[in-house]
Amino acid sequence: MEWLERNMPKLVLAPSFVAILIFVYGFIGWTAWVSLTRSRLMPRYEIDGFGQYARLFASPRWDVAMNNLFIFGGLFIAISMLIGLMLAIFLDQKIRAEGVLRTIYLYPMALSLIVTGTAWKWILNPGLGIQEMVRGWGFQNFSFDWLIRPEMAIYTIVIAAVWQASGFVMALFLAGLRSVDTEIIRAAQVDGIPTRRIYTAIIIPTMAPIFLSAFIVLAHLAIKAFDLVIALTNGGPGYATDLPATYMYAMAFSRGDLGQAAASAMIMMMVIFAIVVPYLYSELRPRREN
């Protein structure tokens, strides 16, 4: 009984622990294994060396995909955080129609990209959407044709992704803002701190853990931005908007090149590891001392 009580926290975590061990790390191990084989349609388990990685690094398409990941991931995370935080702060000012606005900002998450992709495609298409509309108003020189320019198309993906995810980030931040002790805010007000500084210097630092949540969520979405690319550009023009996730999917499921897919997955995870782990470390460490 005593033992049970003392170990309850660990017991509670145990199922998650087992699940994560098998279904995340076990599967990562499986992927690592497969990446060393010549698996094609289906997994084969004879180790064959690092050939898949050599192929991967030789592929110009993979280069493009990785480049895009950095451009897209960086911009998407930064912009979504900024917009999400801004909207959360604005909504926190005792806004009248808060409930309605909040739902409007949030709803894009609700819609399946299978179809919103089409809507975005239309909106961004120079011949159908915004460009056409603005030109219709008489601005003949207006041009917004990123969707069809290989070097710019990735930015349209950023726009659509921000549109989809920033509302959720807003919700996260709003929940965080609402858990900050109001007395502290009052103290700052009396201290003569302007509202802007109250947010930047006092509230936002106390929300550091919420930033961690937002970062992880956004990074997750960025790395897995698969549906979005498929729906909006399908990787095009050419493969200009390919991302590692779409590359991997193409290899694994349309091309029957599982070994290659596994290798790309491993590289992807290593990159994530390299970026996320230092961040996790810096976020989790100081809390330990308190």
């Binding site: 502290i184 009052r186 009396v190 302007p194």
Partner: protein, 368 residues
């Protein structure tokens, strides 16, 4: 021109009325202390002055300007919160300097003021800690520091010393007093500490359940309480409030107090007062004296007392308190520590009639 003028202020939380028709004004350099039982609305009043709580009625003027609806940061006030409200992610030093930094005070001045305040508050070794690493009293001092580095038109302090030990409290009290005198600062100060109230205030406001009971100098409040509530509330141990009968007779006032198992105690006030027949006699424990060695007593105390039985004796360091029964209530007498008083023994006492108050038993108001 008054620094702060409060006119007919009302404040409710939903249906709960918390402040009723508050009228107070504070002049430049005033040190106003708010006292009153827990929950009477002191913090709420401070919050209203600071603009942290919307008021339900009335007006507040600071420096002649109507600030009803003005945001706290534009009221030019500094405040110490009862709950400290430190910025949790900032170090102690930054908690204190942050306001200055925002106001664009130059680095040097910031450092100087920080050092100064840290010295006053004895928190130099803590400057790099986070609030979560501080003890209760340390947090309170940091909260004080945050206010002290400012130079506002009005300071608001909400029980700023409640978590400090006596020594530190005395030294902090001195710092606050100095602040008041040196800077001629205007201060509104909430405390439940009688000594703080008496020593710091130029004026005291006594509140009860959201209404003001009396406004006056410390000596007015202590010596001439406006009603039984104030009399009872101020002073520790509290003023004895003894039911008695009064009659004017031969240009003097004759006061009879019931005594257990004996004749009533009869006291003669040399002044003819127009009192109702039933009164409450208010007398502070230190105004009841031991009447053995008559030499100890001021001249006019002779005859103003008699023998009583002592129920309990409580030694308390410098003093000894003796509790007896009169008029059906316990009466506390404060004696020097070396007094030979003992429980269950008879004891000769005398009232200092120049210091007593008479109250109406009906509404508790002062009669003399």
């Amino acid at each position: 021109m008054p620094v702060l003028e409060i006119d007919h202020l009302h404040k409710s939380y939903g249906d709960t009325r918390v402040l009723h028709d508050i009228n107070v004004s504070i002049d430049e350099g005033d040190f106003l202390v708010l006292v009153g039982p827990s929950g009477c609305g002191k913090s709420t009043l401070l919050n209203c002055i600071a603009g942290l709580e919307p008021i339900s009625g009335g007006t507040i003027r600071i420096g002649g300007r109507d600030v009803t609806g003005v945001s706290p940061k534009d009221r030019d006030i500094a405040m110490v919160f009862q709950s400290y409200a430190l910025y949790p992610t900032m170090s102690v030093a930054r908690n204190i300097t942050f306001g200055m930094q925002v106001r664009g005070v130059d680095k040097e001045t910031q450092a100087r003021k920080l050092a100064e305040v840290a010295g006053q508050l004895q928190i130099e070794p803590l400057l790099n800690r986070k609030p979560a690493q501080l003890s209760g009293g340390q947090r309170q001092r940091v909260a004080m520091g945050r206010a002290l580095v400012r130079d506002p038109r009005l300071f608001l302090f909400d029980e700023p010393l409640s978590n400090l030990d006596a020594k530190l409290r005395v030294s902090m009290r001195t710092e606050i007093k100095k602040l008041h005198q040196d800077l001629n600062a205007s201060i509104v100060y909430v405390t439940h500490d009688q000594i703080e109230a008496m020593t710091l205030a130029t004026r005291i406001v006594v509140m009860k359940a959201g209404t003001i009971q009396q406004v006056g100098t410390p000596s007015q409040i202590y010596n001439r309480p406006a009603n039984m509530f104030v009399a009872d509330f101020m002073g520790s141990p509290a003023m004895n409030l003894i039911p008695a009968r009064a009659r004017t007779e031969d240009g003097t006032t004759r006061i009879e107090i019931d005594r257990d198992g004996s004749d009533p105690l009869v006291i003669t006030d040399p002044i003819a007062r127009d009192l109702p027949s039933q009164i409450i006699l208010g007398v502070r424990p230190e105004d009841i004296h031991e009447a053995t060695g008559q030499a100890h007593l001021p001249q006019d105390l002779h005859g103003a007392g008699g023998e009583v039985m002592i129920d309990v004796v409580e030694p308390a360091g410098a003093d000894t308190y003796a509790v007896t029964h009169l008029g059906g209530t316990p009466v506390t007498v404060r004696l020097r520590a070396e007094s030979a008083v003992a429980a269950k023994r008879s004891f000769p006492l005398a009232f200092d009639l120049s210091k007593v108050s008479y109250f109406s038993p009906q509404d508790g108001s002062r009669l003399n």
